[in-house]
């Protein structure tokens, strides 16, 4: 959009195919606002139309070419200048020429590889988007359209439970158990805490979900921890032999899948914290 009125300008609109049939998903932007975009999976074709309309009817615009790009990139907030593009495809829509009135260009990126899930975090952002560029002599006109990519996983049939016995010598012995080691985003954490030895006064017990986002590699790794959930599971002092049940519904919280070493740039992991608070 040229505010200085450098010549006639045009509106660019990117319309993706299958708007009615395709599902949408929500993702947070950097500022915290929620945005809704079309949802795509790995290997799917990304196709649609680019509509270029002149703002002032009857005017025409000279350009040096129109192209569309499909880009998947990782942005590290502390290193804004460098966008790491792990997927970059480009298609030429129009050769240098003129635009008058309304023109529509079709595009199709076949079976595009989308290896990672879209992610917006505290220090890093992974996004996929289409970018249309009308190249002009003085400044280009650019329009971007985001899409959201989800990765799907197959659920393992054998999902062993996590069982551990921990404690402080002579003060407190507990045994905790969680029913699975791999949970999906809408799962339920079912477990129990069994008190083997209690010699201190406990006020209450809660379970927390911590999200740790690691950016950078080697000595430059930066870990950011965020407490996603805090859920009280016990109030008051327990006695020996008491068993406290845990039932935590994950669908109520904003979780993302665990991401391990994405493109060697960042990782996102989740931890379950059991917190016992004494007098």
């Amino acid at each position: 959009m040229s505010f200085f009125g450098f010549g006639p300008s045009a509106d660019i609109e990117i319309v993706l195919d299958g708007q009615d049939s395709r599902k949408t998903a929500e993702i947070k932007t950097e500022d915290g606002k929620k945005e809704k975009h079309l949802l795509y999976y790995d290997g799917e074709t990304v196709a649609g139309k680019v509509n270029v309309t002149m703002k002032k009817a009857g005017s025409k615009m000279e350009h040096q070419g129109i192209k569309i790009e499909f880009i998947g990139q990782i942005e590290l907030y502390y290193d804004r200048g460098n966008h790491h593009e792990f997927t970059s495809l480009v298609k030429e829509l129009a050769r240098p020429g003129e635009i008058t009135g309304n023109t529509s260009y079709g595009f199709e990126f076949q079976q595009v590889e989308k290896p990672y899930e879209s992610y917006t975090g505290a220090n890093v952002r992974l996004r996929y988007f289409l970018r249309v560029t009308i190249v002009k002599r003085l400044s280009d006109s650019v329009k971007e359209q985001d899409i959201i990519v989800h990765t799907l996983s197959q659920y393992p049939e054998m999902n062993s439970s996590i069982k551990m016995e921990v404690g402080i010598e002579d003060c407190l012995h507990i045994e905790f158990e969680y029913n699975k080691s791999k949970y999906h985003l809408k799962d339920v954490i079912v477990g129990k805490i069994y008190f083997l030895l209690v010699r201190i006064k406990i006020k209450h017990m809660e379970i927390q979900i911590i999200k740790r986002e690691s950016t950078g590699t080697g000595p430059n790794t930066y870990n950011e921890n965020e407490t996603i959930a805090k859920y009280e599971i016990m109030d008051g002092a327990p006695v020996r032999g008491e068993s406290i049940p845990i039932r935590l519904f994950l669908s109520g919280y904003e979780l993302t899948p665990t991401m391990r070493d994405i493109n060697k740039k960042f990782s996102v992991r989740y931890y379950l914290n059991l917190v016992l608070v004494d007098e």
Binding site: D42, G65, G81, Q154, P156, G218, K264
Partner: protein
């Protein structure tokens, strides 16, 4: 890998001809070598779905190896095939053990549903072991390379006009590349080194740039190349080497061009610059040098192009070699070029001085006299004195192994008077023993391509003649020196008066033809 001692013959394969990217069913029957394939894949269960040909699948075990001529290969199984079903049981997301157990459960018969994938897809699905875990590529190891892009030019190829940027290394022209090729290199490097922070490349533009913009682009590309090549790992990787050295091939026109500049060192120590094509042969380059210097045909006949291999040793180039390749591979040397123009075996004034300075010509007490003549530029007198000295007109080869020496090397010296083998240690330090071979005793010589060596046969008084093999990498040049000596000897012989001709051994003359019959006939003629 499932194996068996069974000796039942393989059954006829059941391959469905169809889209290679679609799942297909294959039946394999065990042969004497078992099923003849290996399975590889994840140990755990489940996992992230990835797309193969547009369809999402859970992690699949795959065929990591296929035995040549085995049952699986004959049935149509290929390396890299992803396994979807084993004996009609779906194994998407299965553990390795589960799949192996299923294969074994079928006994001698096995039905697999597989999907073939091209190599790049296989790489994406199963990244090679090197990249698993943290990558320890040391990007901090740097060296500064004198790489620059001082200018650019517009070329026209196949009706298309575009700009190419000339890349120089230490003042020597390496190649010329257009922006598109830089962009391709950048993408490939990014994929090869995903965790390296690459400097920014000058931007893409869809229209022709102004002079100012072109210069800005030139500077940007120069900075990019400098920064990227400075990191040793990246500068030495295959893509970079290919980019800097390979001849430019325009994919649309299949037209190899690219004019480059080559510097040639002349006998008087001046430089001659010729414009040649990158893939010109030594013969073609020599012709260019001759025309540039305006040498007469007779003069041109005495010279040729040599490569300065070591301080003391120049190797004559073969007509079919590519001087430009040799030229750019030596960009790290201190001299401005490694290609020189010289006379093959006799010296001129400057070469004689060189020979004296390098110690090739053994001056002994004549050094003072020679220096005086050199100072006063008395070329002819200088040469007269030099010619008398030992080592003049000799070619000394770098030390190498010889089949007649079990321990230690030899230094071969080809001189006009005789051929010497100077014994030395394996590292080249000379020892006391020197064996001289008179040219008339050399009965035959040849190169041996297979063994990459030079061999000659020499006569011994009273004994059978002996073959000697010299294992030098410059075996071709050695043979040429021998050829040259014999040629000159023949010329010398031709100038002798009749009487002397009769006395000289005629065997000597016919060596060049290596035809024993001729030799014997001439011998008889002499006796008669």
């Amino acid at each position: 890998m499932a194996d068996s001692e069974e000796s039942s013959p393989p059954s006829s394969p059941d391959i469905q001809d169809g889209d290679p990217g679609k799942p297909r069913e294959v039946t394999i029957t065990k042969s004497e070598t078992g099923f003849g394939f290996n399975v590889r894949g994840q140990v755990s269960e489940g996992g992230v779905l990835k797309s193969i040909n547009g369809v999402l699948y859970a992690p699949l075990q795959h065929v990591s190896a296929v035995l040549e001529g085995g049952a699986a290969q004959r049935a149509g199984i290929r390396k890299g095939d992803r396994i979807l079903e084993v004996n009609h049981v779906n194994v998407e997301g299965a553990t390795h053990k589960q799949v192996v157990d299923l294969i074994k459960s079928g006994g001698d018969s096995l039905v697999l549903t597989v999907i073939s994938v091209p190599e790049q897809v296989a790489e994406r699905l199963e990244p090679s072991d090197d990249s698993s875990g943290p990558s320890y590529i040391d990007y901090s190891e740097r060296r500064s390379l004198p790489i620059s892009i001082p200018d650019y030019q517009t070329v026209e190829q196949g009706g298309e006009k575009f700009v190419v940027f000339n890349i120089y290394m230490a003042g020597r022209h390496l190649c010329s590349r257009r922006y598109r090729e830089f962009d391709g290199l950048h993408s490939r490097l990014k994929r090869e080194f995903p965790d390296f922070n690459f400097p920014k490349m000058p931007g893409k533009k869809l229209f022709t740039l102004s002079e100012q913009q072109l210069d800005a682009r030139r500077r940007g590309l120069e900075q990019y190349l400098e920064k990227v090549c400075a990191v040793r790992v990246i500068g030495e990787c295959d893509y970079m080497q290919e980019f800097l050295a390979a001849p430019e091939v325009d994919q649309e026109n299949n037209h190899t061009s690219s004019e480059v500049e080559l510097k040639v060192l002349l006998p008087d120590r001046s430089l001659c610059v010729v414009k040649i094509n990158r893939n010109d042969t030594a013969d073609e380059v020599f012709k260019a040098v001759v025309s540039r210097l305006n040498l007469s045909e007779a003069a041109a006949h005495c010279f040729y192009l040599f490569e300065t291999v070591e301080y003391n040793f120049d190797r004559k180039l073969q007509g079919s070699e590519f001087p430009h390749n040799i030229y750019i591979q030596n960009y790290s040397t201190a001299t401005s070029t490694c290609i020189t123009l010289r006379r093959p075996s006799t010296f001129l004034f400057w070469e004689a001085i060189d020979g004296v300075n390098k110690g090739q010509i053994k001056t002994e007490d004549k050094l003072y006299e020679l220096k005086a003549l050199q100072e006063s530029n008395k070329n002819i007198e200088y040469l007269k004195v030099a010619r008398q000295l030992e080592g003049y007109g000799e070619v000394v080869f770098p030390h190498c192994a010889c089949d007649s020496r079990k321990d230690g090397h030899v230094i071969a010296e080809i001189g006009f008077e005789c051929f010497k083998l100077h014994a030395c240690k394996n590292d080249g330090t000379p020892e006391s023993q020197i064996i001289e071979f008179q040219w008339k005793d050399v009965k035959s010589y040849d190169v041996e391509e297979e063994g990459m060596s030079f061999c000659f046969e020499y006569a011994r008084a009273g004994k059978k003649s002996r073959n000697v093999q010299i294992l030098t990498p410059y075996y071709v040049y050695m043979k040429e020196c021998f050829d040259r000596v014999f040629e000159e000897k023949e010329q010398e012989y031709a100038k002798l008066p009749e009487a002397k001709k009769q006395l000289k051994n005629l065997v000597f003359l016919n060596i060049a033809t290596k035809n024993k019959r001729d030799v014997q006939m001439s011998e008889q003629k002499l006796k008669a």
